[in-house]
């Protein structure tokens, strides 16, 4: 079963706008990771945030984590058409495996 839930399920924005995606989870975590998947391809790791961190940046990406609310958000600033993909959050617990949500489909219109 998938314990990470993302919202919205789908997001369509204009190039240059910011995209915010949210993820909630149910059990405790060691870290939370965000991945991108282009159609028909494997997953690409974007960013990892540890349970004792609240915010992390990587280029145009900003991730926040609120362990009290069991939620995380991924912000992509100044979006580009190439950002069009599915985005997944994945919870990593004590047992090393990743538990993924169903994903968010982001479409960035040129």
């Amino acid at each position: 079963s998938q314990q990470g839930e993302e919202d919205p399920q789908a997001l369509s924005i204009q190039e240059g706008e910011n995209a915010t995606m949210n993820c909630s989870y149910k059990t405790s975590i060691n870290n939370l990771q965000w991945y991108r998947q282009n159609s028909g391809r494997g997953l690409v790791h974007l960013i990892l945030i540890r349970s004792n961190e609240r915010e992390k940046h990587s280029g145009r990406l900003r991730v926040t984590l609120d362990t009290s609310k069991k939620s995380s958000s991924l912000l992509i600033t100044a979006s580009r058409a190439a950002d069009t993909a599915s985005y997944f959050c994945a919870r990593s617990g004590a047992n090393s495996k990743l538990t993924f949500g169903k994903g968010i489909t982001l479409s960035v219109r040129p």
């Binding site: 998938q2 991945y35 391809r41 790791h45 997944f88 990593s92 047992n95 495996k97 994903g103």
Partner: protein
């Protein structure tokens, strides 16, 4: 350096056939994971190796699924007597020692007819 590779990339099997899917992890990566991704869904965990030891196989859906990593490097996921519900993309990932990110291969798309 080379990433995670998987073969074959596509596999069509008739129901009842056995299949074997191969994963070549990043050299030196201790941990190896297998996931199953159904269409429109996120990946779901199948099994996990640390070196040659299979530490968690709780996600394998039935005893028709078997995975091995005999020398702590290449891994094979075998599915016996395939069923239509086995149709999915099978993803392999490897990770260096520690709680770090996983690096995914391109996946094997299995279609059972």
């Amino acid at each position: 350096g080379a990433g995670v590779s998987q073969s074959p990339r596509y596999k069509v099997a008739k129901r009842g056939q056995d299949v074997a899917l191969r994963c070549d992890p990043i050299s030196g990566h201790v941990s190896l994971f297998w996931y199953q991704q159904a269409l429109g869904q996120g990946p779901e965990f199948l099994t996990y190796f640390q070196n040659e030891a299979q530490l968690d196989k709780s996600g394998l859906p039935s005893d028709r699924f078997f995975a091995e990593r005999p020398e702590g490097s290449v891994s094979t996921l075998k599915i016996q007597r395939t069923q239509q519900e086995d149709s999915a993309v099978y993803l392999c990932a490897s990770r260096a020692r520690g709680p770090y990110e996983q690096y995914f291969g391109p996946g094997t798309r299995l279609t059972v007819t």
